[in-house]
């Protein structure tokens, strides 16, 4: 299946290669570079490239390209999913998935890749198992290692792989037993010029951080499980229980993981917490335009909306922007991407934040036809906009009393206002 993997940074250096079968020469990446050049933008590099002898399947994550070499038919999503899993693992191990982090930990990376794939077929991809096999680096450990000469490779043998719950490692012990759940909902929306909603839906996830000793068997129930329109589960969840009782019953992996992700579709009316008043205009035959946006709260369920950021990709002809915000600060990158970013912060309903001013256009160039659309980020603490509520968490199988907690956050997902 997966023959080789090349990691390439943005400037086109191949800084890591790993082969699971016979060695494939680096020159195969030339086809990739060719495609990259043609695409102009990193996001537009086709994920699958066909070359005379191989197929290249690549992903772009955190300014790195993960390019895998395939020789025979394989479902492309299989490879893409795996590559993302590799990137997730790096993230998990090193805190970031960057060129520097990978280069610093090249041996661990190599050991990980060796365990994750055998002859091109995934072997151990669960983070719990991997962490048992190869310990993640910590500052303390690296100091100790350099003194004592011990290693990052686990000296106990991984047993998780052998059990029928491969996602949980054995012999977990904590002095404080805790189980935290974060219900994070993101609003995806397209708002049209007039302020009406073209499309809106809620994408939610429940991320868990479970630090419980032994083999706890948890069941999490909701006040209103019917809200969940379409759910995807971590493999630990017992599907049958959900089908029949709408209860999430599972033996959790140890540590952080994503329990479920769900969608509340647009059919149920989605509350849109902010509105934007905008007036962006470019005058014909004059080198300037007006820019005026105001943000206000709407259907925010009485909670404060915070962390608001507005990002606007301005047209190419914009030379510079002279704006005054009533609140927060803005930056405009006039050279490369022409991106305007306005960091608003909190909305106080008494005085709505606005950003006003003039836009300087390249003189002589025709005025842009389209007003740029506004991408908005915000955050509302302690609120799940869909109304989802966790009812209770029960634990079976262990004697101690765990500390439990649920946190709700609503964020803007792909929230776009067309102007």
């Amino acid at each position: 299946m997966i023959h080789s993997l090349f990691l390439i940074n943005c400037s086109g250096d191949i800084f890591l290669e790993k082969h699971w079968k016979s060695v494939v020469s680096q020159s195969v990446c030339d086809y990739f570079f060719e495609a990259q050049e043609k695409a102009a933008d990193v996001e537009n590099v086709p994920p699958v490239i066909s070359t005379p002898h191989h197929y290249l399947i690549s992903i772009y994550r955190d300014k790195l390209f993960f390019v895998s070499v395939i020789q025979t038919e394989v479902p492309p999503l299989f490879v893409i999913e795996f590559l993302h899993r590799v990137a997730d693992t790096f993230q998990d191990y090193f805190g970031e998935c960057s060129e520097a982090a990978i280069k610093d930990n090249v041996v661990i990376v190599y050991e990980l890749l060796e365990e994750m794939l055998d002859n091109g077929f995934p072997l151990a991809t669960e983070s719990n198992i991997l962490k048992e096999l190869i310990k993640p680096p910590t500052i303390l450990r690296s100091v100790v290692n350099s003194i004592t000469g011990s290693s990052n490779v686990g000296d106990t043998l991984p047993t998780g792989q052998l059990s029928n719950i491969p996602w949980r490692r054995a012999g977990v012990k904590y002095t404080n037993n805790e189980a935290y759940f974060d219900v994070v909902e993101e609003i995806d929306a397209i708002i049209d010029k007039s302020g009406s909603t073209v499309f809106a839906e809620i994408q939610g996830v429940i991320d868990a951080c479970i630090k419980l000793s032994g083999m706890p068997d948890l069941s999490l129930s909701f006040m209103n499980p019917r809200l969940l329109d379409d759910v995807s589960f971590h493999p630990c969840i017992r599907f049958k229980r959900w089908e029949s009782e709408r209860v999430l019953s599972f033996i959790p992996p140890d540590g952080n993981f994503r329990l479920i992700s769900y969608r509340v579709s647009s059919q149920n009316l989605v509350a849109i917490p902010v509105y934007v008043k905008h007036c962006i205009s470019f005058k014909e035959n004059s080198a300037c335009g007006r820019f005026d946006i105001t943000i206000g709260p709407k259907q925010n369920m009485g909670k404060t909306i915070e962390g608001i950021t507005v990002t606007v990709h301005m047209p190419k002809v914009v030379l510079n922007m002279n704006l005054t915000p009533t609140q927060g600060s803005y930056t405009f990158d006039p050279v490369t991407k022409k991106v305007l970013t306005w960091d608003v912060g909190k909305i106080t309903p008494q005085k709505l934040p606005s950003l006003k001013g003039l836009v300087n256009l390249q003189s002589g160039a025709p005025k842009p036809e389209e007003n740029p659309s506004l991408n908005i980020q915000f955050k509302i603490q302690q609120l799940a906009i869909s109304g989802l509520k966790v009812n209770r968490l029960d634990m079976y199988g262990e004697k101690y009393k765990p500390f439990k907690g649920v946190k709700y956050v609503t964020k803007a997902g792909k929230f776009q206002v067309r102007t």
């Binding site: 695409a39 893409i80 002859n119 029928n164 379409d230 036809e369």
Partner: protein
């Protein structure tokens, strides 16, 4: 060499003894003498007996490997550390070994003995690890050792070792394909493994080594299906895609009978065609005699696969979801494919690479099954921040999904896109608009106008694209585009973009015959401004002049000559050349060149209209989700997805001797036992059966349907055929009698069912057969009554008595049925007038008022007063609705009692609650005064009794009407045996069971009446029953296919207990209410 296990438990080992056996090979040093110096320090470090130094050295070496630098000269120094006690050193040595062993085969052999020892270790993990590295060393000499190791590991106690063995199989195969036969043996052995750990890996090995040996799967098929949910994600993907291919070779297409026979797919599950394969000669002959009418029944194993993969749509892994989606797309009956849409749409939130692949597949699916994604149209709307390649794919999907109803919204979306800054995307949008315009005639003009406006866009790309699309659109309907060309001609004054001007000139030239007056004028204007034009425009001016000269030389001869002479002295040599060349071609010279005679053919040859179709058309011949599908080209190692077989291969090959997966194999065995019994009876009663059942089915050639087959089944089920033979005619008579009585009773509506009790009290079987006949004949009756109406079109008010006579006459020729026996007029006069007072305006009340006889009589949809002369009634025909088995088919009867003909009867925009959908009846063009007609429409009530509200439109008026189904109409009968019934009932207890006590009135204490009352209330099929005073009925709800089981336990003295078991509790409760009401009245 240390004797400690390769993976030693004891820590430390620092300062342990070195490995003198491996020593330093002087020869190897000689070979690499040139590089000898380079890695001297590393070699020294490796040679020390300090683990920390060794580790440091190995780390540096691995870092070199990672960067792609050659470290092969260190091979001898590294390989001797293979038995090092430090685990990390050892692991890194393995990494090195696997990387370079292929290049240094001789030296690699030195490490083999360590692994061989590891293979015998008591620790399973060490055994597995040894096998893993051993098999990864690509050294052909050790093939026999590997083979041996794999064989041994395949029967290891530990599933983990067996998994590793499965992984090793493809490695060995790629090293030496001669080992195939032996490897297949190992695969066969491992396929029989029952642990989830092994399943994924062995199927992977199967796919790489012997994907053609489909026979190996038979015995393991059911096990794989059942294990699937517990296998890890990667294995699931591989297994699902293998099973897709398997199913394509072993089962029949679930959609094969779509055009021929409408078959309820849920019902099909219970039938089985195994008897055909197994049964003795005569039956087989009988079965093959009517091959075309053989109903499709889904193999239970096929169903098993679909059922067990469905939950995986909720996997977190996009690859698994896609795998299930493609399985459903390729294997599921059409009606069930829809479930995958939601999951696929969910994946669109994932990483952009995942989106890219999913959208490609959605694009292919949406061409074939557009309806599936229609509800999710908005999820494909484009954001300005999407990467261009995603935008273009979403656009493709939106275009595929566009249809008559949603085109306005789609076009509005497109309008936003056209103003995007991303010009490639704008160009694609314009093309998409072009495709919408060609596919949907209604919006063609709107699109054309929009595109014409785009011609004044400042961006050349946009203009060029619009012109190209306009050109294509115009070429498609050459007769009607005079107007647009005129419009374009006018635009030449304003449009300055040379590309657009040139394109317009081309169009005018090409279609100059359609604008004979304007074309010369345009040429005149262009000739005037010729010198100021851009080159590309000049060329087109010459082109236009030439074409005009050929078609209309009288008016344009001088103009052409003028243009040509202008061009002759142009600065640009291309233009000068073109002018010279054109002149030679069109102007007949003295020499009379052969070419000029054919000039017209050269210039004005009809150009084929370009085809605007999706590039994803026909891509589904590749297995969806595969690399080949994505590339639209066959990738190496792609396994073709086979076509469905004509005849199903023997399904018994999948039977496993030990009934380990008891549920399904047991059921199947039982079925096998039962089947011959049924087919026997069919065979014996052959002559009579066919004598009276065939003509019937012939006469209803288009009513096919489950009701027919159930009538066949239930009659064949009768215990003593001899008696039945004798009785069949008799019972028919008696039935007829009964029906006639019932008909009278209908006329006097409220009389109750007393007469019925006097009719022949047949055995269970005869009564049940009569019941099923009832359902099957209803449509026939409908047809008859309408045809009869056409014959006698007098106004509905005249002499009902006379009609009755004619009706009776007719009855003599054709066996009537219980339902709707009374001719429509009678209903409309007597019944409807009776109801008038009751119904008032709220038509939704009607069904509940009429609940004693729903599904039988017609109910009013629109009263003739409210409808201004148009009276509309509806009846539930209980026929499966052709095209969608989830729909209840509703017969709508229109009659026009006004003076004027009513025109353009159709269904207007329905406002439906979520889930409910309507299949409209074809528009009725005109209904003359006094005439009436019947149309069939389908409504998917989504297993609820919510009313379907819609508008009934005529040319002049719109009427708001609504149809509310009685709960009994939301289901279709299924046939099952008593045992099956009991088993299913056992599963549906607790909350799913609703029980009600009642007292049966004297009037309905006999079988016939009870059965009839229940079946008129609800569309259920009778289940044979051993005891005399118990009645059982079974059905499935139409939309979700949930079982509805009804039991009536009649005790002496009229006490009775009614039990309904159904997953759908609401339906169950309502059904109990309705049935109790029907029985006690």
């Amino acid at each position: 060499m240390s004797a400690a296990p390769a993976y030693s438990e004891d820590k430390g080992g620092a300062g342990g003894p070195g490995e003198p056996e491996y020593g330093h090979d002087p020869a190897s040093g000689g070979i690499f003498s040139s590089d000898y110096k380079r890695h001297d320090d590393l070699k020294e470090m490796l040679d020390t007996n300090k683990d920390s130094l060794k580790l440091e050295a190995m780390k540096r070496i691995v870092a070199m490997i990672a960067r792609g630098k050659n470290a092969s000269d260190l091979f001898p120094a590294v390989v001797k550390n293979v038995a090092c006690k430090n685990i990390e050193v050892k692991k890194l040595v393995y990494v090195y070994l696997v990387r370079y062993a292929e290049e240094q085969q001789d030296l690699a052999l030195l490490s083999i003995s360590t692994f061989q020892r590891g293979l015998k270790d008591p620790n399973q993990l060490i055994r597995a690890s040894a096998l893993r590295v051993l098999s990864s060393i690509r050294v052909p000499i050790i093939v026999p050792i590997m083979m041996l190791a794999i064989k041994e590991a395949a029967s290891d106690m530990s599933p983990y070792v067996r998994k590793t063995a499965a992984h090793a199989i493809p490695k060995l195969y790629s090293l030496d394909s001669d080992q195939k036969d032996q490897l297949i043996e190992v695969i066969e052995k491992l396929l029989a493994d029952k642990t989830t750990l092994v399943a994924g890996s062995v199927v992977m090995a199967f796919e790489e080594v012997c994907p053609e040996r489909i026979d190996l799967i038979h015995k393991n098929y059911r096990k794989l299906c059942n294990l699937l949910i517990d296998v890890e994600e990667w294995g699931q993907v591989v297994i699902i895609s293998m099973l897709t291919r398997y199913a394509r070779t072993q089962f029949l297409s679930p959609n094969q009978n779509e055009s021929l026979l409408e078959e309820n797919p849920e019902k099909a599950f219970y039938g089985s065609e195994e008897d055909e394969v197994k049964g003795p000669g005569p039956e087989e002959a009988a079965a093959t005699a009517l091959p075309a009418r053989k109903p499709y029944v889904m193999d239970p194993d096929h169903r098993l696969l679909l059922r067990n993969t469905k939950p995986l749509l909720q996997s977190r892994s996009a690859a698994v979801v896609m795998a299930v989606a493609q399985l459903y797309f390729h294997l599921a009956p059409k009606a069930e494919v829809g479930v995958i849409a939601k999951a696929l749409v969910r994946l669109l939130r994932s990483h952009s690479e995942v989106q890219y692949v999913v959208l490609q597949n959605v694009a292919t699916m949406s061409i074939k099954r557009r309806g599936m994604f229609e509800p999710y149209l908005k999820s494909f709307y484009i954001r300005s921040t999407d990467p261009t390649q995603i935008k273009i794919l979403k656009l493709e999907v939106l275009t595929n999904l566009a249809n008559e109803t949603n085109i306005p919204t789609v076009l509005r979306e497109f309008q936003t896109y056209i103003r995007s800054m991303d010009k490639d995307f704008v160009a694609a949008t314009i093309q998409a608009i072009g495709r919408c315009a060609t596919n949907i005639g209604r919006v063609r003009d709107t699109c054309l106008n929009g595109l014409v406006q785009l011609l004044s866009n400042r961006d050349e790309l946009v203009v060029a694209e619009s012109v190209v699309v306009i050109k294509k659109l115009l070429q498609m309907q050459p007769a009607q585009h005079g107007e647009i060309i005129k419009h374009l001609a006018k635009l030449t004054d304003n449009i300055q973009v040379p590309m657009a001007r040139a394109s317009i000139l081309w169009l005018i030239g090409e279609y100059c015959e359609h604008v004979p007056r304007i074309a010369p004028d345009v040429l005149r204007k262009m000739a005037k401004s010729f010198t100021a034009e851009e080159d590309i425009v000049k060329l087109q001016v010459i082109n236009l002049a030439a074409k005009l000269y050929l078609t209309n030389s009288k008016q344009t001869k001088l103009l052409t000559q003028y243009v040509l002479s202008l061009a002759k002295y142009d600065q640009n040599y291309d233009i000068r050349d073109r002018a010279r060349f054109t002149r030679q071609l069109i102007v007949p010279s003295e020499q009379g060149g052969a070419l000029s005679r054919h000039a017209k053919k050269l210039f004005l040859a009809p150009k084929p209209a370009p085809v605007l179709e999706s590039s994803f058309k026909d891509r589904d011949h590749f297995q969806l989700g595969s690399l080949s599908h994505l590339l639209n080209a066959k990738a190496t190692g792609y396994q073709e997805l086979p076509d469905w077989p004509e005849e199903a291969p023997d399904p018994s090959v999948r039977n496993v001797e030990v009934p380990e997966w008891t549920k399904c194999s047991n059921r199947e065995k039982r079925k096998e036992k039962e089947k011959p019994f049924y087919s026997d009876s069919e065979g014996e009663s052959g002559p009579t059966e066919s004598a009276d059942s065939n003509p019937e089915s012939d006469s209803e050639s288009d009513s096919k349907s489950s009701s027919e087959s159930s009538s066949g089944d239930s009659s064949s089920e009768s215990d003593d055929e001899d008696e039945e033979k004798g009785r069949s005619s008799e019972s028919e008579q008696s039935e007829e009698e009964g029906k006639r009585k019932k008909m009278k009773k209908r006329k006097t509506v409220a009389e109750g069912h007393r007469e019925g009790s006097s009719s022949d009290e047949g055995s269970d079987s005869s009564s049940s057969s009569s019941e099923s006949e009832v359902t099957s004949e209803s449509e026939e009756e409908q047809v008859e009554s309408t045809s009869w109406r056409r014959k006698t079109p007098p106004s509905s008010k005249s002499a009902p008595a006379a009609k009755e006579i004619s009706l009776l006459d007719l009855e003599d020729f054709t066996p009537p049925s219980v339902q709707a026996v009374s001719p429509p007029t009678i209903v409309s006069t007597s019944l409807a007038t009776d109801l008038e007072g009751l119904t008032l305006t709220d038509s939704s009340l009607v069904p509940s008022l009429l609940s004693p006889v729903p599904g039988v009589g017609r109910q009013e949809l629109l009263h003739r007063v409210a409808g201004e002369g148009l009276a509309v009634e509806y009846a539930f025909s209980r026929q499966p609705f052709p095209g969608d088995p989830h729909m209840v088919s509703v017969h709508i009867h229109f009659s026009n009692s006004s003076e004027n003909p009513i025109k353009g009867l159709r269904v207007g925009t329905p406002k439906l609650p979520a889930g409910i959908s309507i299949q409209e009846f074809p528009e009725i063009e005109s209904l003359a005064p006094g005439e009436s007609t019947t149309a069939v429409m389908g409504i998917n009530f989504c297993d609820s009794t919510q009313a379907a509200n819609f508008q009934l439109c005529t040319q002049t008026r719109q009427f708001y009407v609504c149809i509310q189904p009685p709960v009994g109409e939301l289901m279709a009968p299924v046939f099952m045996s008593e045992n099956e019934f009991k088993k299913e009932q056992g599963k549906l207890t607790g909350m799913n069971e609703i029980t009600e006590k009642l007292t049966l009135p004297d009037t309905c204490r006999n079988d016939h009446i009870v059965v009839q009352k229940v079946t008129t209330t609800a569309n259920l099929g009778r289940v044979p029953c051993g005891t005399s005073d118990e009645y059982r009925f079974a059905g499935r709800t139409l939309t979700s296919g949930s079982l509805v089981l009804l039991t009536l336990d009649a005790r002496p003295a009229g006490a009775a207990q009614l039990t309904v078991n159904s997953e759908k509790m609401v339906i169950g409760t309502m059904l109990v209410k309705d049935v109790v009401q029907a029985l006690t009245q």
